[in-house]
Symmetry: C2
Amino acid sequence: MTTYDRNAAGKPAHLDEVSKKIIEQLQADGRRSYAEIGKAVGLSEAAVRQRVQKLTESGVMQVVAVTDPMQLGFYRQAMIGIRATGDTRLLADRLAELPAVDYVVLTAGSFDILAEVVCEDDDELLTLLNSKIRNLEGVTSTETFVYLKLHKQLYNWGTR
Amino acid sequence: MTTYDRNAAGKPAHLDEVSKKIIEQLQADGRRSYAEIGKAVGLSEAAVRQRVQKLTESGVMQVVAVTDPMQLGFYRQAMIGIRATGDTRLLADRLAELPAVDYVVLTAGSFDILAEVVCEDDDELLTLLNSKIRNLEGVTSTETFVYLKLHKQLYNWGTR
DNA sequence: AGTGAAACGACCGTAGA
DNA sequence: TCTACGGTCGTTTCACT
């Protein structure tokens, strides 16, 4: 599943300190054992496992592999600001279908949509823009921000 | 470590099909056992373990917990486009130090920097913008794109 | 929700092709 | 770089609190 609704699981989750610590442990290393986490947070292995299962099932957290595009041969990344007419949700669906697009967000402001793309090179980026994105129904104009240097990238949203 | 250099580990990594499959397995579930992955890709448990270790050490991949800001009480996200003078790398360092900033990228285009922020509410966002970001040395103007709906969010960059 | 205990399975180091 | 194997540790289930 590539597209998801952040509101799907409902509202807050008001985690206690122990669950926050468990999440921190898994943010540092997603393969850390439940037993080791238990030692760090002062809980039995079984209790940690139950909490992790709940956190995962409720969508608060997931443990996944993240990869570095550069090392996989994708040397060109960019953010595309898009201005559009009509229902931007439909347009967002079309954008999300493109394999090179790894991030789509509907925004308020001078762009209606922001889309991040991952390309092998400038050639692919140019083709993507001209032959795919700018052809989509509703797109009135785009602005491209080529990445010069990715400086900070956190996955631990929300625990700060 | 919150800031990292994507070029740190050098250039390509030309993975074979087996390593790509291993990464796919861990993208689906970061806690899947080496033995189970081995069955899926046709390799012994030890071989999978060695490959995962190499992929992790070389920075091609890492297994981590990712969380949903909404469910942790951060209801307002936004992308801030920043125009600046001087060395934007220094400014990016200052931005990266702010806990609410989870993403900073130096760009070419009508913005010099794009920064994603995660806030509890509009109040915090407003304070962040006015009292923190716009005060930073070198910032000449900002443009804020408040997130209305996060539509697609991939962590599996590069394997497409 | 949590603990503890026993059976099972995964993980890790080492040896060898 | 892979497989094979044994010791160790983690995980799972279940009965209990």
